[in-house]
Amino acid sequence: MSSLSMASRNLRRRKARTILTVSGIVVGVALIMVLLALTEGTATQTNGLIREILPAQVTIVNATTPTGSGAGIRALFSSGYNLNQSTVAEIAGLGGVYAATGQLSSTAYLNGQTVLLAGIDPSSYPLATNGLSIQSGTSLSTAPSDQVVISDTLAGQLSISVGSRVTLGPNSTGGAPYTVVGTFSSSTTFLDRSVYIPLSNAQGIAGEQGKVSEVYVKVVPQENASTVAAEIQDKVAGVRVVTSTNIATAVSSLTGTLTTVFAVIGFVALLAGGFGVANTMIMSVAERTREIGTLKAIGARSSQVLKIFIGEAFLIGVVGGAAGVAIGAATSLLLSSLGGGAGAGGLGRGARLFSGVLAPAITPELVLLSLALGIGVGVVAGIYPAWRASRMDPAEALRHV
């Protein structure tokens, strides 16, 4: 008889009580699993999003551009908060700035569909930003032209490809003819409906001659980004300077706080589960006093008795941990499919964006961590009752009826 098989039979002898005890661990583990999966996934998604919304180290916008969660993003695509194009040259001339480029963002219609139009300067854009990840065809040529680069998602939706002729203009009808020279891969929903054309063309379509909405800056060496950003903020009038690192830091500290809060909730639940295990084990040790006395009388060492009872707690932890991981994973997947369903159902860009961010990430580390938590709580909760069992005086225990 291994102590584990004795333990498992004892657990099966009192099924209802065992199920009740195990479920305490299940709830705790599942809760921790879902919450950690959500925060982990959210953090990853948010960082990806920041990189795509802010394609450069340093981004400069008009100082009057509204801030706040949704407002900031929407403002990027509305006129009225634009900067003079001369600001680009002014910033490019500052020390530490390796390259600067201006972009005008607005909305337009491509073949009658609303798109997010970005006018860029093809010669400086690749120097100052991470560039576009071209999937097929080429990027915009540096010579003035009627070329457009569109997202692969949009290309798929509109059934157009490199070489296609499209119509682009400020209204849903009419517009000027453009040639699709390339598609870029849009890894998040944010860029799905974006199209890139030369800056001067975009200024024409938007009616914003000589204006840009953002200036992107690259700093060399990279470590100086925040110093240079501060200097730009200082020397250039009427701008607000945003660095991707300080946003990322803010977001990660926010998600860090969320993770902590969620983890605390989960740990409280697990703690309650642990008390359940301890309670059941203490009850079981008391009920089996005579059995423990017998075990010792026939020659079991204290350590062997300890092993049998720790084994019970361990099994409760294993079963509770495994079921908790399964239920936690299922709940996470359900949550993410609910989110995805809402987006696909046409609640619009905002909903899709949101659902993309709420993507639980179930990593092998998370599974192992959750399982280990379940087992750990079970075993720790079992230590005291098992110790009491092992320390029982056999003669006294045998007098017990």
């Binding site: 008889m1 005579r290 059995e291 017998t294 026939i298 020659g299 079991a300 204290s302 003669a395 045998l398």
Partner: protein, 248 residues
Amino acid sequence: MSDPLMVEVRGLAREYRHGDFPVAALNGVDLAVRRSEIVGVVGPSGSGKSTLLNMIGGIDRPSRGSIVVDGIELGRLDERRLAEYRLKKVGFIFQFYNLIPTLSALENVELPLSLAGMDKRKRIERARSLLERVGLEARLDHTPDQLSGGEQQRVSVARALSNDPAVILGDEPTGDLDSKSAEALMELIVSLRDEQKTTFVLVTHDPIVVARCDRSLSLRDGRVVREIPKGEGSRFADSQRATMDGLY
């Protein structure tokens, strides 16, 4: 009487504390049991029978005096050694059998072998042959609740025999059995002694047991008050249990 001494008890005393003042459960008991003897211990309730048995079995320690079993001086053993002593040198039979309820008959008999570290194949083989010896070859996979009291007590005899002990200690082994099962159990015990020279010390109230013991000690207030030879004990075999009082 050339058989060697298996159990040797000298000046044994045991006090328990009841609140502030000590109560003497045993007060200077001497006892010598030779190999292949069956010795009974009788006496009124509270006279110290179980206390004596527990100390011979190494599950309780004396306040004074010494116990030597198969040449081992129990007073010298630490907790770990004492557990090993119980495992290898002693077999216990209890009034309520005390089988592990979750284990089958076979597994109950395997348990002490498993605690002693015997490998699975060997211990299954040994447990099976012991159960055959006590007449339970058809009950190997039954759990205690599927066995009668008499059958459970036979399983516990097989369990007590498993590590080939120097002495088997029974605390009222027939106390929960009907007289037919009690007779059968004593039959088994006597035949084990005849075949394998197993040594028994049996605490009892039961004339059926006393009748089959080679001799019995009568305890009162923690002392041996008389020794009852076999002939005298057997005269009580057919009498009512109440008449046992005459022996004390």
